[in-house]
């Protein structure tokens, strides 16, 4: 059975994000993921408020990165959060994105090693008395908390590239696959399988989540309009191999990227084609979304994450997902 997660970008005042988070819990979602970008509201402040206003839903950053937030601080944050939401805290870790890191003066050095070491440090910090770690990227020397977290935190590795997907299967309790099209998810799950096989695990030992850009509305046109801005960014940031997989013109994607960079939103969004929406989002009427989720289930996913924009009216879309989509998978 597939579980449903929902992602929020804390770009609006905290009470709006919290309003939707409470609604998501009431409406049967199992996981709440909050994105971590320094440009928006702080992820742990948002999660703290969410922990205090919810009772059941699992919650965590989706995803944080080891460069901006040192692993011991990530461990401290999730351990503290766990006091407010015992056994509900989850942790998504990825390499981050180069552009955002550069704007803070950081370089994405050895992303695979950094993520691997970060996961180990976090796990040890929340379970051991003291951690001394000699890695290639991170080092700790008798690092310890003055409180006892005594927890085991499910760590999800956010992955898109082949090596990171393999690593995610290898070390993760879960993997967040940044894609919503069966072609991409099939490809990704194959690599996750390879990763789990290397350490004697089965795919079912890992929670495989499709972390999608999602937009639902009764009217397909309205759903698509809402998806366009997010799809523009995804298309512009997609590697050539992914564009080729979907038969998308690379030059067109590059031009969207240039328009976005120049702040020419009309030009960028106007260049998003229906093929791009199909490739980079799960978008449409409830029936169309159900069909797509069924296709993704065949690839082996166990969690479906409804990510931005969710729909033209987030409140109505959460209700629509709850009333029309989730029941199709929980009967």
């Amino acid at each position: 059975m597939v579980e449903f997660g929902i992602e929020f970008v804390p770009s609006e005042p905290y009470w709006k994000t919290l309003f939707y988070a409470i609604q998501a819990e009431k409406r049967g979602f199992n996981y709440l993921w909050i994105t971590d970008h320094f440009n928006n509201r702080n992820v742990y402040v948002t999660l703290t408020a969410a922990a205090l206003h919810t009772e059941r839903i699992k919650l965590g950053p989706g995803v944080t990165n080891p460069y901006l937030i040192n692993p011991v601080i990530t461990a401290q944050a999730v351990a503290s959060l766990n006091e407010m939401a015992p056994s509900r805290v989850i942790l998504g870790i990825g390499a981050g994105d180069k552009t955002t890191l550069r704007s803070t003066g950081l370089e994405m050095q050895k992303p695979l090693t950094a993520v691997k070491e970060c996961v180990e440090i976090v796990r040890r910090m929340v379970s051991e008395k003291s951690v001394t770690f000699e890695g290639e990227v991170f080092k700790t020397s008798d690092a310890k908390f003055f409180f006892k977290p005594k927890m085991r935190i499910p760590v999800y590795v956010g992955a898109q590239g082949p090596k990171m997907l393999e690593l995610a299967g290898n070390i993760g309790d879960g993997v967040l696959i940044n894609a919503g099209h069966p072609k991409d998810v099939d490809y990704a799950v194959g690599l996750v399988k390879k990763g789990v096989g290397q350490v004697g695990k089965r795919l079912t030992d890992v929670d495989v989540a499709a972390y999608t850009s999602f937009s639902v509305h009764e009217d397909l046109k309205k759903a698509a309009e809402a998806a366009v801005p997010v799809v523009a960014y995804v298309a512009a940031g997609s590697p050539d191999v992914v564009l080729q997989r979907h038969g998308i013109n690379q030059e067109k994607a590059r031009k969207i990227g240039e328009a976005l960079k120049a702040g020419k939103w009309g030009e960028a969004f106007g260049s998003v084609s229906s093929e791009m929406i199909e490739a980079f989002s799960v978008c449409g009427t409830p029936e169309m979304c159900i069909e797509r989720i069924n296709d993704l289930l065949k690839s082996g996913i166990s969690q479906f994450v409804v990510g931005s924009p969710i729909g033209p009216n987030v409140r109505k879309s959460i209700d629509l997902i709850s009333e029309r989509i989730i029941p199709e998978f929980t009967r």
């Binding site: 005042p13 009470w15 709006k16 309003f19 409470i22 609604q23 206003h53 009216n313 987030v314 409140r315």
Partner: protein, 93 residues
């Protein structure tokens, strides 16, 4: 302003529609940054506890809506829902 007293003037059959419309007003409001922090906490508390259609929930959503989207809210109450007595009560406070 005593919104608990004012919501008692709203007929039961109009509460759900009113609550839904006011919720959309506040969630789509461009004045979200004008939300007083104490009112935000009250709103989230009531939303977590139950629907925003009971007396306590409707009182807080109405107060938020009047704070963030006064004109739209009064127009909805007076024109669409024909609750002119409620509009008068809000204006009188």
């Amino acid at each position: 302003m005593d919104y608990h007293r004012i919501v008692k003037m709203i007929p039961v059959e109009k509460r759900e529609k009113l609550s839904t419309k006011l919720t959309d007003f506040i969630l789509k409001s461009k004045n979200a940054d004008k939300m007083p922090s104490s009112l935000a906490k009250t709103l989230l508390h009531h939303w977590q506890q139950g629907p925003l259609t009971n007396d306590a929930g409707l009182a807080v959503i109405l107060e938020v809506a009047v704070t963030l989207e006064s004109d739209k809210t009064l127009n909805l109450l007076g024109e669409e829902l024909q609750l002119s007595d409620v509009v008068t009560a809000i204006r009188a406070e």
